[in-house]
Chain length 189, copies 2
DNA sequence: TGGAGAAACGGAGGTCCCTCCGTTCAACGC
DNA sequence: GCGTTGAACGGAGGGACCTCCGTTTCTCCA
């Protein structure tokens, strides 16, 4: 389930520690109402802080590893939505799924904020998959003529990310919904 | 120039320290390529770190104070734009001004990110003024029939903020422009 | 089985953040 | 001038971040 890592045969202790770190971090992020001290994660996983940072150089890397599988479920759902709904509705529905996912992962959202705060957002593998999912929907919409052609999927990814970042997160489901409506509207031809 | 603070007569030393802190912080933010240690600001201003935190409880508060006047120029420019351009163009032009301002204030953007990371964005006075500027343009557009009526100006503020937050900031002027185009499009009737 | 070498480990330590609270001092009334 | 007093000051201290590098451990080959 983790990354296939074709590079080289990972040492067994490294693999073990990595898995343990993810397991502990998942629990910690789920439980925490606020921030999670990485040193706590390391300690509970029974490794040194140095080991944690070697496996996950940034907070964001750890978060991504923790939620990668679940987030992949969200992106993987795009084709099914496209099969059931016209593209412009599938787009909006998919946005809601994404928003719902982020909303339930408060720990993730906080960490996401923190990672953005560091300045570099990089472009982690997960984000690329999100962009791909959006791209698929946009393409279908362009073909059907119900979504504008030529919109850069990555622009849309960043817009969505921006909504989640700028939204105080609390219980602003309504506001978030309106903002997503606006973005969806912007993508009509 | 600072806030008139009608509450009570500020003590002269408090006022002096506050002004000095803003002055030092402005220089530091302008010079820094990355983060600015608040303790450095305090030291250079010749005050203790406690004094800095009393005047500006959060990083964001300090940033806001530093750029409040300049940002007010941006918001104050809205009426002039409305006088020269039809509302839908004024909106887009104003967005560009805002983006340009943020782009030149790299230190501010970084700190903005950091403050968002902390979870609470509050609603500082400056943001309200931004929302007011947007609201004025939206109203004019609604009256003219070239912008949709009923859009919540604060939603738009947050969308803009989101764009600046999610954009790696570097030299993505082009991408930022496209994202702003999308938002502007979303606001057409 | 017995190294050799590379990879992984782990934590000390430097930096920054932010709070808390005892000390200082400007403002005002007498 | 002088005392009072509450606001303002300042820095010690505890927590978290992240880096750096000496030590340990796994793996593989002889």
């Amino acid at each position: 389930m983790p990354s296939p890592e074709p590079g080289r045969p990972v040492r067994s202790d490294a693999r073990r520690n990595r898995d343990k770190l993810i397991e502990v971090a998942r629990a910690a992020f789920a439980a925490a109402d606020g921030t999670v001290a990485l040193e706590t994660v390391a300690r509970e996983a029974g490794v040194g802080i140095g080991t944690l940072y070697r496996h996950f150089p940034t907070r964001e890397a750890l978060v991504e590893a923790v939620y990668a599988a679940e987030l992949d479920d969200v992106t993987a759902g795009a084709p099914a939505l496209l099969a059931q709904l016209p593209p412009e509705k599938a787009l909006r529905a998919w946005m809601d799924r994404y928003a719902a996912f982020v909303a339930t992962k408060r720990g993730m959202a906080d960490v996401l904020r923190a990672s953005v705060a560091s300045g570099r957002i990089a472009t982690p593998a997960t984000r690329q998959r999100i962009t791909a999912a959006i791209g698929a929907i946009l393409d279908a919409g362009a073909k059907a003529g119900t979504l504008r052609a030529g919109a850069d999927p990555e622009d849309v990814t960043l817009l969505l990310l921006g909504v989640f970042l700028s939204t105080p997160g609390e219980q602003d489901a309504e506001r978030t919904g309106r903002m997503l409506d606006l973005i969806a509207d912007a993508l009509r031809p």
